[in-house]
Amino acid sequence: MKGKPHEFSLSQECAKLARKHFARRLSHTWHGFEQLEYDDERIRPKLITKTSLVADALPGIAMVEDLTLAGSRRTVGEDIVGTAFAADIRGYYLTAKHVINGVQAGALRLQTNFQAPPQKGYGMYPFSVQAVYPHPQLDVAVLAVPANAAKGRVSLPLQREDVSVGTDILLVGYPSGTDLIFCDEILGPKSSKSFSPVAFNGIICARVPDDIRPIELLVYDSTTFGGNSGAPVISVESGSIVGLHLRGLENHVGYAVPIQKCLAFVDAVAEAHEPRRQQYPSNSEHKARR
């Protein structure tokens, strides 16, 4: 053990042993242990907290904007129609099909507030949508974006296993149907807009059959707003994405399609889209054209 003296009397050997075998567990249960310094960064215990999960997830979560809606006032955030998240490092985002129904790919834009690692931090990062691939059966769509737009942004894994009732979840998105996004009524009509991502939490309270499709949906006791459609449902326990939010009611429950039902579709889209990728402009070319 190196570094400054510690407030508890752990011997060097004892600390080494603890570090090797119990580091992760102790870090959760013994608050003081976090003050130990580690020679090897790889074994530093990492606490999975809701805050760290949201921070990890944010660079991969984007607002979906329909640019045809922009009125003469053209206010940032006004065009939000839903949320999408990075699902494949090759440049594929998942969202709900009803978010992009009837909108041409060229009229869609994804925009995120947060940089991907290693820079991280806050800043607006818009990127174009090359093509839209709606799922033939589920209310799910894949958005193909320039390949570099997803680099470093697939920070949370997509869970392949079933998720159990009782699992703690977080839902992070850009719900434009709430004053959490637009605060000009408080600060005055000419104030700058707030369009912070919004995180809700809840638990998976049931799995129910969908009304119209042969699939079980995840139900969670979390309020959601317009604009949350397409947002990732994140398991706090596993730190992975377990669902794609489809619909819900304010102050009631939300419904999501289990993410493992989308995985094969993302792969199928990538297989069909990759050979065509070179025919689309890069993100910078697209911006220059606009």
Partner: protein, 174 residues
Amino acid sequence: MTADDLSRQIAAFLKAATVAADQLANSSGVPLEYVHIEEALLKTLELDESIDLLSKHLGTDEIVSLLADFDFRRLFPETIEDVRLDSSIIPSKTARQLIEVTVRADGEVWRIHKNDPDPWPSNPHAHNLQSGLKLHLGTGELFRKKRSVGKISRKDLELIRTKITKCQLPPLQA
């Protein structure tokens, strides 16, 4: 059908349709994507749901041949105008989809297309972007796909008609 079978069918259709999109884009001069092929096939084969396309087991050649005479410009309607209303004119008892796509936080947008690929229920008619409903601009009747789901009040119909200024409206019906 098992989940694996379905995934295989979806993958095969995606591949066939994207290749067909490239071929048809070259011949028609219209920039086409998978989504346009899907929409054109639904109209040509008169199917309601995309899932019904999978059971047809269509290959690229069949798709190209089925859509050889399809006018793809229909799929790119030009917007005549957007009408923005401060409050909703859709009666509260109208069945709405429980979805969360949001067009604007503070009102309702109705869009009118030029050369609408589907000149029904009236020509022109208004699309509500928030709910997916279509409005007959002569009668005030609301439709989801081809099904009537309600009617807006006469006062609201007259309000929206006064805001549409860039096209000729169908006659007001009793």
